[in-house]
């Protein structure tokens, strides 16, 4: 176990470095001189040359990568071209907002998916099963940015129940867990939750059906265990894999919320990324992608470790 733990953590290091390399290369696959990502287009030539030397952009790429990596490790993610502020000051606020949205959506999707998947797996072939499977397919097939628009039309425009945009009254950016703020969270979170709902339903249905087919369930039934007792056995067996799926889904939501955030003007990383792309603010683009991807790498690691710790059947050397 301990060896596996160490090996798994060590394995995450080259992955993290390669992810850094991909993010570093993003600026270099962008059309144009990467220096344009640092200085405004109308800067005088002497200044451009000066900055090129300062940033080491006149050096070969591998050395540039080393310099960049050194800065990032020390927490310097660069300066935004659009605002002139350090990238981290905007990014840190946006990350918290995205995390709030993604965790809420993952929770909704997780609860619904477990209930639907559990029911479908227990009553295979019945109407309940078909309904749950249908909902799951719909969840993974619906373009969620469109679903967001439909939600806005229904609940904001027609019924006027919930606000359509922003994360707080009057566009304020401070968050509090009161109705004033939470009502802004409901529509984007529900919209975003349909994807994990669909995927968790499918997964849990498969896991539950497989467990119910195993011999030990037959034995439990045979010795007269109550339905509730059997249910507990199924939950215990299904938990490790289900937790793994939902953990990865949270990561996908963190990175995939850009479309939903754009629809609802949710002030998270998605909106930040969207603005950065259209202002050609490459430092912000690069840093946001890097932080989100690192978050995903860390989450993958945690999910693996938790799954190994929870499930004694997994023997990883």
């Amino acid at each position: 176990m301990l060896t596996y733990l160490i090996r798994r953590v060590l394995y995450a290091i080259p992955i993290a470095l390669s992810v850094g390399l991909v993010c570093f290369m993003l600026v270099h696959i962008a059309p144009g001189d990467p220096i344009n990502a640092i200085v405004p287009a109308d800067a005088p030539q002497e200044l451009v040359d000066q900055i090129r030397r300062d940033y080491g952009l006149d050096k070969p790429l591998p050395i540039q990568f080393g310099i960049w990596l050194g800065r990032v490790v020390l927490g310097d993610l660069g300066t935004s071209l659009a605002t002139g502020r350090p990238v981290w000051s905007d990014l840190s606020v946006a990350i918290v907002n995205t995390l709030r949205l993604a965790v809420t959506a993952a929770l909704i999707g997780f609860v619904l998916g477990c209930v639907l998947g559990g029911l479908a797996g227990s009553f295979q072939g019945t109407v309940i099963d078909k309904l749950a499977v249908g909902l799951a397919v719909t969840g993974v097939s619906v373009p969620h940015y469109w679903l967001g628009m439909v939600m806005v039309i229904l609940f904001s425009v027609t019924l006027n129940w919930l606000p359509a945009m922003g994360a707080g009254p009057g566009g304020s950016s401070d968050w509090a867990w009161d109705w004033q703020h939470v009502q802004h969270l409901i529509l984007p979170a529900v919209t975003l939750s349909v994807i994990p709902m669909g995927i968790v339903t499918r997964t849990v249905r498969g896991i539950v059906a497989e467990i119910l087919n195993q011999d030990f369930i037959q034995t439990l039934r045979g010795k007269g265990l109550t339905q509730r007792g059997i249910f507990l056995h199924v939950v215990k067996n299904a938990a490790p894999n289900t937790i793994a799926v939902i953990g990865l889904q949270l990561g996908y939501l963190m990175g995939g919320s850009i479309l939903v955030e754009t629809v609802f003007s949710w002030p998270g990383t998605g909106l930040l990324l969207n603005n950065a792309i259209f202002q050609r603010d490459l430092p912000v683009l690069q840093a946001t992608i890097l932080v989100l991807a690192m978050f995903f790498v860390a989450l993958n690691l945690i999910v693996d470790l938790v799954q190994t710790a929870l499930d004694p059947r997994i023997k990883r050397a």
Partner: protein, 313 residues
């Protein structure tokens, strides 16, 4: 099959000798069924699956509509009129209304399907070809080659797919080709993983050893024995990606990263109609409905294919 079972039942009611004969008849019938081959079996199973058939029919109808768009579309997709902007569904001469520039919605939805389908399917097709090549190579060669290919794949797995697509097209800039390129890069790694695992499973089977023992070269073995056995499962897996690809491709256009105006494309149309949801919500929802319908049909079709082809991937 049903006939065979019936004759077996009749046979059981008759004296023992006839029963044995009936049993033989059943066996012969089953053997004949098997000799029809794998694809006949797949087709037989598919035919009994109404959902899959319905989805295939809808998709074929859509395909026909977008291929023959200039023949069936009632108006010009680019020609608008400021006088008839955002007309509701059911307007005479404009059955699905008009968009924010007064262009006929039905026409633009039919023409929009061309780019949406092209941008959704091309990345999966390219990823299928490239991913299969690299995956089979990794699985068959093993060792260092496998290590190199699979560890590179791991790196791309460290990005959530939407983020990777947005990152690459964001850096490259808006455009149809850039969007297709970025989505291809997103789908290659999962195809490689599936191709590698299926190939590794087939590589160690006896018939591959037998082929090698009888003097077949690596190229022949891969072409005849490996590809013949792995293409089916990889293909089924690739079909399951089409739905995601359609949603992501239109999503990139929705963000302004894919198709550029005034080209008709469902995601872009959804974006430009966003401001119209207060004026004419029904018309504003139509392009998304098209994406949804296509995506769910591809998903159900893929599920049906997987079951009919008996693939566990």
């Amino acid at each position: 099959m049903a006939d065979g079972a019936a004759s077996a039942k009749i046979g059981a009611a008759k004296p023992a000798g006839t029963a044995a004969a009936a049993e033989l008849a059943v066996q012969a019938r089953e053997a004949a069924l098997k000799s029809q081959g794998y694809w006949a079996g797949v087709w037989k199973r598919l035919r009994r699956d109404p959902v899959t058939i319905a989805c295939a029919a809808i998709l074929l109808a859509m395909l026909a509509a977008i291929v023959f768009a200039p023949l069936i579309a009632p108006h010009d997709p680019y020609q608008g009129s400021m006088l008839r902007r955002l007309r509701p569904v059911g307007t005479p001469n404009h059955p699905l209304g008009t968009d924010e520039l007064g262009r006929d919605m039905l026409t633009r939805l039919i023409f929009g399907g061309r780019l949406s389908w092209f941008m959704g399917i091309t990345p999966v097709f390219l990823a299928f070809v490239i991913g299969t090549g690299l995956g089979v190579l990794a699985g068959y060669a093993g060792g260092g080659v496998n290590m190199l290919i699979m560890r590179t794949t791991d790196v791309f797995y460290a990005f959530p797919s939407v983020l990777l697509a947005v990152a690459i097209s964001g850096a490259l800039g808006a455009g149809t080709v850039n969007a297709i390129l970025s989505l291809t890069l997103v789908f290659i790694p999962p195809v490689i993983r599936v191709a590698e695992s299926v190939t590794t499973g087939v590589r160690n089977l006896d018939f591959v050893d037998a082929a090698r023992a009888s003097g077949a070269g690596a190229f022949t073995i891969i072409r005849v024995h490996i590809l013949g056995n792995v293409l089916g499962p990889i293909f089924v897996y690739a079909t399951s990606l089409v739905s995601v690809s359609m949603i992501l491709a239109s999503g990139l256009s929705f963000l302004g990263l894919g198709v550029t105006p005034p080209e008709p494309e469902w995601g872009l149309m959804l974006n430009t109609l966003r401001t119209a949801i207060y004026v004419n919500p029904t018309v504003a929802m139509l392009p998304g409905l098209c994406i949804f319908a296509t995506s769910i049909c591809f998903n159900l079709l893929s599920d049906g294919l997987r079951q009919a082809m008996d693939v566990r991937a």
